[in-house]
Each structure stands twice: as structure tokens, then as C-alpha cells.
Symmetry: C3
Subunit: 139 residues, 3 copies
């Protein structure tokens, strides 16, 4: 049994979903991990991790459009406004989704369904570089 | 230290919550797992995993009723409509809940509270068979 | 490779966010854990776990204010009302957030970002004592 750590720095172009399944799979392949548990953790409070459909791009567009309507930028309810209209909305969108994900790895393959991709969901309107910690335990 | 993988195929009767705690516990008992970490991952983007109250069935009914009002089937906001009115709503309901769960196992017992059960939440209106990957690491 | 279990009993003062990062870090330091995976699970269906900003207290206030508006206490939609107006709302707020979290531990430090803290989010209006199971696997 062994473990391994890695950190990804992922650039975003502002609000929206960016797939990075291939980055995780490359790390797995390079280290020849076979069977174990892969955990991802994003080190931010205004961006999140999501596993969602990677076929029709309209799904990502609709996800973002729905969340933009559910959590309004500049909602007068918010007091935390120093960093701009999208700041508190970004914290709430993060709270409603996930910051850590755990995925079994079996025979060198992540236990993802046919249509599942791993996404970084940027919730701020401006581009950022987001750090995601990867951890593997297994063999 | 050892690990083990298993896959459950769970039939749903359309939208709603189906408990499967007993399926997970049976797998644990049959393999005599004692202490470790159990991870569950659902391989779909329109059904999710939830730990919720397993006493009053009204809780499940209310969970589903609230989510049906929060995320409207056929919302004119949606562009991803090819598979029907409930399709994009199902993706959103999945994004708002969870696709993976990790539970400590101690002395052969899952660290569930008295009222906690493990549920598959079907978000499509029609019945489906859903695959859930189970992973154990421990001894 | 070794593992360890611990249970925290955390008192809340009613609805709101209580940080307990220091309790988790104390357990790690006392046991001299270096590298591995830390999993937290809350054994309740009306309180949840959240990783969020630990700088401006307005963020916690806004998180709670938004959720109180999104999920109304005493919503006439609810049938599960025996334990009071805040009961079903608490189940829904829990379903919308998380009951388990997994965090890599590297060189004795949790993979938390600069502004991330670990919170217990009490969703009931009255004070409770909440049990959180901690699990470590690694070395």
C-alpha cells in the first residue's frame, strides 16, 4: 500500500465549468496507480468541484445559468460585498456544490460513468488560477 | 491493510428516494470488513447519493417536493432539452446534492447516526437502473 | 500504514456556523499523523459540514441568511412538521450541503487553502450537541 500527493494549478477564464478529467488521468497513468482511492480537494471558497455530464455543452451552460438565477450577484441581502457583486454569490455557489470528491480507482481506471467528467467550477466572474490537491492511497 | 471493490445495480421506480443501507451493510458483513473507510460513487449525472432521515417517510416526500419546486422541469431557461423536461432538472438536482460519499467503518459498523440511512435519489421521472461503485480500504 | 478513529461532540448555540478546524488539527498533532487522508462524517440529518471562508464573519452571516430565505421555516409545502417549523427546513439545508468531507494531510498539514476553515453548520434553531466522526488512514 502506498500513497501519493500532487497539486494541480488550473487557470480559469472566469465564471463557468472547466473539465480537467484528463489532468487527473495523466497523473494516475504516470504513477502507474492501479487500485485505490483518489481524493480531490479544491483549496478555495469561491470555486468548486463537480462531476457532471461531459457530452452536450448546453448542460454546462444551463448549470451556470440556473445557479446565476438562484444566487443573484449583488443580492441586497448580502453584507460581504467588499470584493464585488460576485463575491458572496461565489461563496454560496461553492457551499451548494462540493470542495472535495473521492473516486475509486480500479484496474487503473477511475470509477466514472460513461458521461461523467470532473469539472472545476469557477464562480467568480474574473479569471483565476485555482489549486486542486490530489491524493492517492492504494497500490 | 486490504481493499475491495463492488458494484451495486439499483433499480428505481422513477423520481424519489430509495434506501440501500442494507445492501452496503451486507457487502461489509460478507467480507468481514472491520475498520476502514467505505466510499460510494454513483456513475450517473441525473441521480445522486444522499444520507438522510430513515424514520418518517414524509421527510423523503418533502425533500422531493422541495427540489421539484426549486428546479422546475421544463424551465424555459434550459437549452438542454433533447431528453425531455426532466433531464436538465435532473442534472441540476444532482449538482445540488452528491455523487460520492465516504463513511468510516469502525468495529464492523458504519459511522451512521441513529436516524441516518443511505439513499439513492432518482431525479428522472422514469425508472432506471443505477450503478453505484463501492470501495473499501482498511482491515 | 495505520488508521485511527475519533469522535468529537460539538455544542452549538442554535442555527449558524461554528468553526472546529482547531479540534481536527489538535487530534492530528496529538497522534503525530503525517501523511494520509482525513475523513469527517456528521452523524445527524439536520446539521452539516462545510468548508468555507474563515476571515470575514459576514460570510457566515450571509450564508445563513441566504439559506433561511431559500428554505423557509414552516413552508406550507412541508408535511414533516411534528418537531417544529425548523425541522424539515433543517433536513433540506443538510441535503443541500454535505455530511462527509475528505481532506488530504501532507507533512502534518491539512490541504486547506489560506482562507478555508472547517465548519459545523447547525440548521436547527435550538442548541444541540452534534457528533462528528473523524477517521485517519496513512502514516
Amino acid at each position: 500500500m502506498r500513497q501519493s500527493f500532487h497539486e494541480l494549478a488550473l487557470a480559469t477564464r472566469g465564471r463557468g465549468l472547466r473539465e480537467f478529467t484528463a489532468d487527473v488521468e495523466r497523473w494516475i497513468a504516470e504513477n502507474k496507480f492501479r487500485d485505490g482511492l483518489v481524493t480531490l480537494h479544491i483549496q478555495h471558497t469561491s470555486a468548486s468541484l463537480l462531476i457532471q455530464e461531459n457530452a452536450d455543452p448546453d448542460v454546462r451552460r444551463d448549470l451556470d445559468a440556473f445557479f446565476a438565477r438562484l444566487v443573484r450577484d449583488g443580492d441586497p441581502l448580502f453584507r460581504h460585498t467588499a470584493e464585488g457583486d460576485d463575491d458572496m454569490a461565489a461563496h454560496l455557489r461553492t457551499a451548494l456544490t462540493a470542495v472535495s470528491l473521492s473516486l475509486p480507482l480500479h484496474d487503473g481506471r477511475l470509477a466514472l460513468g460513461t458521461w461523467q467528467g470532473i469539472y472545476l467550477w469557477e464562480h467568480r466572474t474574473h479569471p483565476h488560477t485555482r489549486r486542486v490537491t490530489l491524493h492517492f492511497i492504494g497500490e
